[in-house]
């Protein structure tokens, strides 16, 4: 039960701003009880307003999304990049042009009147007369290689003579090889003839 004198004293303290939270809750309970003394009824609407305002609630529910801090996982990307780099480098290496034999070399007719044997190549001494720019087939394009022709080397008589001797020797070897090949063919034919004779003889005996 509420004592009127106590409530009146609390109410005076309240208007002066000297009440505690507990005392203020007691006053609110008193005015909400429906048993307010007539002498204090004029204050009832004020406490009713307080009660009403305390009952106000948010009608629109707030939406808060769970946001995780952005942590960049770079390890898979690093691994993928490494593999891609390795594959690209390997492919480029395998598809790059063979820079060791990029040019065909031949001897100019003025300096070397003799014809070259098929097997002979002289990349060290011969003049480079033709250049073939090599285009890469790979992902990375290679710069087209263009070399300026170097001046024709001077060939003296001794070198020319030596070259002629070498060519004669090579021609001799070549002729011997051809002769040997003919003899080999002849021997093979003879062996086949002998094989047929023996076969006929075996068939006649059988």
């Amino acid at each position: 039960m509420f004592q009127l004198t106590h409530i009146e004293a609390l109410l005076e303290k309240f208007w002066e701003g000297d009440t505690t939270l507990e005392e203020e809750r007691l006053l609110k309970a008193y005015f909400a009880s429906g048993q307010v003394d007539d002498s204090l009824k004029s204050y009832a609407p004020f406490f009713q307003v307080l009660r009403q305002e305390q009952a106000v609630e948010l009608q629109r529910p707030p939406v808060v999304t769970e946001v995780r801090p952005v942590t960049y996982n770079w390890k898979p990307w690093l691994a993928a990049a490494s593999v891609a780099l390795l594959l690209t480098t390997g492919w480029w290496w395998s598809s790059r042009p063979n820079v060791d034999v990029p040019y065909t070399a031949e001897v100019t007719p003025e300096t070397t009147p003799v014809t070259q044997p098929e097997a002979a190549t002289q990349p060290q001494t011969a003049q480079i007369t033709s250049e073939t720019p090599v285009q890469s087939r790979g992902f990375f394009r290679h710069k087209t290689t263009t070399r300026k022709p170097s001046p024709a080397p001077q060939i003296n008589e001794e070198e020319e003579k030596a070259m002629l001797e070498i060519k004669a020797a090579l021609a001799l070897v070549s002729s011997k090889l051809k002769k040997g090949r003919r003899e080999a063919v002849k021997g093979t034919e003879h062996l086949e003839t002998m094989d047929r004779v023996f076969k006929k003889k075996r068939d006649g005996e059988g």
Partner: protein, 171 residues
């Protein structure tokens, strides 16, 4: 702050934040927007403040106050009397004439409370409606304890004067 703590400590005071925002802006929609923005901000930045914030409720109230004042100042919000949607009307024990008079008086009190100077209005709201301590009010509004007591005293005195004046007129 993780999701569980947020739900336990911050989310339950959403109604309190809404009432405070409504007291400042006077607009239901603006107050709802303020609460939404404050809760989002608290959730997203709580990790940065978890070491420094001691009282999440006071911190949220401060954010609500600042955001509401920003909205009020940046936009010319038409002040409407809050609590229009409140259905509670404890006039069932009164006859129709008394109920009409009571409703009229409560509307006048609401209007009077809403027209108080800003500090008085906010101090009175935090004390008489949200039942915060003087220290919490001072922290929320960034004012001294003396300023809290002075503003509360002046606000209550204004309301009491209005009530007594009306009583005197009605005889």
């Amino acid at each position: 702050m993780n999701w569980t703590i947020f739900h336990e400590q911050v989310f339950p005071i959403r109604h309190k934040l809404y009432r405070f925002a409504l007291r400042i802006t006077g607009s239901v929609h603006e107050a709802e927007d303020v609460v939404q923005e404050v809760l989002e901000k608290v959730w997203k930045t709580s990790a940065d403040h978890s070491a420094t914030v001691q009282n999440w409720e006071a911190w949220c109230m401060t954010l609500t106050r600042n955001r509401s004042l920003d909205k009020t100042r940046s936009q010319s919000i038409r002040r409407t009397a809050p609590l229009e949607n409140v259905s509670e009307r404890r006039t069932d024990t009164l006859n129709p004439a008394e109920a009409a008079e009571r409703n009229d008086l409560t509307e006048n009190i609401k209007k009077m409370m809403q027209e108080l100077p800003e500090k008085q209005r906010l101090v009175m709201h935090l004390r008489d409606i949200e039942e915060l301590t003087y220290d919490e009010i001072a922290e929320t509004l960034s004012i001294t304890l003396d300023q809290v007591k002075i503003n509360l005293h002046r606000a209550r005195k204004t309301i009491r004067t209005m009530i007594l004046e009306r009583e005197r007129v009605n005889g």
